[in-house]
């Protein structure tokens, strides 16, 4: 049950949007497709909705092969980044559209629409037109419209991408709650790793038309399958072939055989967090994340020579570069890292 995509391929001209993508979304889960623009995440979502026809591969929705089913018959709810509001209809008309198509009676439509408007907190705005609503309200209307027809799955394409930061944060929390209430299998696309980690139970990281890794936020953060995932999910420093998170760099005044000598270039206070920018002997620039208390204890000054002890270093074997896809290898964790097993992506 849930949604499964097997070996999906899609090409636009000479651009390979999806290159043998397989994902598995458990029934009732909330999953994020995360990746930079052009990674294929929206194409994959649209293929699940039936808005894009795959060149090869299979889409299975709740155990039914939906690959050849047109969008109209897939029973998916789809929410667009720019709302796709029906501008010539009221909020009521928008939310009731799918029900009207399904020939529900007027009384039934009215009851269901008002129930949904309460759910998305738009009750009282039923007679407004979309251009009389704020961006956040329009997107909630679009959600209500998608949910009205009781879809098997809910698909959201960068749903908060066009909204300002404050509204975006509110809607995230709200989407999380809505999912808990409705329990409908949900996939949403985002390029914002913080948003993905905040909202989703499962993340699928995509890059250049491939799935790099999938798993929980903790999995991806602590056991990234490769350099791309490590740098896309959270901040990262590169020291030679090794990668380390800024908060895993220990700054000390004691030289020892494992420490790396570095020059403090700049100290930036970002509220509670302190960002210390350093240059290592070979010219590599790195930064360490310290707390205010740590900074005071160390009495760091710009221009000082300090010693860095990177903790939980990761190294991805082979000459895997950012552009390499997944499947080349499992990462080789250095002894410093406490647990060595890492979930490779599907």
């Amino acid at each position: 049950m849930g949604i499964a995509v097997e070996g999906a391929r899609k090409r636009f001209g000479d651009f390979q949007a999806l290159d043998d993508v397989s994902i598995d979304v458990p029934d009732g889960s909330l999953t994020a497709l995360l990746g930079p623009s052009g990674s294929g995440k929206s194409t994959l979502l649209r293929a699940i909705a039936g808005l894009e026809r795959l060149d090869a591969g299979q889409v299975v929705i709740n155990g039914q092969d939906a690959t050849a089913t047109p969008a109209q018959k897939r029973e998916v709810g789809f929410v667009f980044q720019h709302y796709a509001a029906f501008k010539h209809m009221t909020v009521f008309g928008n939310v009731g559209f799918g029900l009207k198509i399904r020939k529900w009676s007027k009384a039934q439509i009215s009851e269901r629409v008002h129930e949904l408007l309460r759910l998305v907190q738009l009750d009282g705005l039923a007679e407004r037109y979309p251009d009389q609503l704020s961006g956040g309200q329009r997107q909630r209307m679009a959600l209500a419209r998608a949910l009205a027809v009781q879809p098997q799955v809910l698909l959201l394409d960068e749903p908060f991408g066009a909204l300002d930061a404050k509204v975006r944060k509110d809607l995230r929390t709200w989407l999380r709650r809505l999912h808990d209430e409705t329990g409908v299998t949900t996939i949403f696309v985002t390029h914002d790793q913080e948003e993905a980690m905040d909202v989703a139970e499962q993340l699928v990281v995509m890059n250049q038309g491939r799935v790099e890794q999938s798993g929980s936020a903790d999995d991806l953060y602590d056991h990234p399958a490769n350099e791309f995932v490590m740098s896309f999910v959270g901040e990262v420093n590169q020291l030679g072939d090794h990668f380390v998170r800024p908060h895993d760099i220990q700054v000390t005044h004691d030289p020892d055989d494992r420490a790396v000598e570095a020059l403090v270039q700049r100290i930036v206070a970002l509220g509670f967090e302190i960002r210390v920018e350093l240059v290592v002997a070979d010219g590599t620039e790195v930064w360490a994340q310290l707390t205010r208390a740590e900074l005071q204890k160390l009495e760091l000054r710009e221009g000082q020579i300090v010693y860095l002890r990177p903790d939980r270093i990761k190294s991805f074997s082979g000459d895997m570069s950012l552009s390499d896809g997944l499947g080349a290898s499992t990462p080789r964790d250095l002894p410093d890292d406490d647990d060595a097993e890492v979930t490779a992506a599907a």
Partner: protein, 268 residues
Amino acid sequence: MTAKWGLRSLAFGYLGLLLIAPVGMIFYKTFEHGIGPPLDAMTSPDALHAIWLTLLMVAVAVPLNTVFGVGCALLLVRHRWKGNAIIDAVINLPFAISPIVIGLSLFLLYGDQGWFGPTLAEWGIEVLFSVPGMILASIFVSLPFVVRETVPVLQEIGTEQEQAASTLGANAWQTFWRITLPAIRWGVAYGVVLTVARVLGEFGAVTIVSGSISGQTQTLPLFVAKSFEQFNEQAAYAGAIVLALLALTTLLLMSVGGRKAHATKEGS
């Protein structure tokens, strides 16, 4: 400030001299001796027939060009393929070619020596010097307006609303009637108004194919021209006024309809 007023008077002066004065003169000349003479002129059998024929042209050519225009715009915008460039260029032909040339080309095609003329004559269908030929000419000259006005609006609304409708269970037909058409209705309406105006006023092509036979194949513009040639100025002016009023009515209907639709939307 002075520059602004200067520009304004220039604009008004230009419009006044070129548009308002001639039209005003016609109104003045028509009603110079009261409503009686123009009324008499327009209730003659030939005049009434010309009005009826003109309205018939509008009634046939405008719906056909509207359906074709919307369909063609959908094809051009929503289904991209290489042939579109050719269709796009061909649609502009009526704009590029003089109506007289259009009339001549129809004459050649449907005449006794033409490709279609003899065959159609065998079936008993007379195209030239009769109503079918005039309708063909009217369709030809007014064909591009709805397409040209609809294409940019279709491009502007994009496909997301249509995709949203399809994920909500609407089929292509339902999506067109409930989503696409309401979204492009102003573009289409403007195209229709231009088409009506063009068909009402068409002279060149229709003159050639109709032969301008009084009481038989004479539309209002032809009636006006013939009356003028025969020094029946009263009838010519009155006919011109009726033409102008028909066109104004079309414009008025559209803007009233538009305001009404807008008012219902704002009011709710």
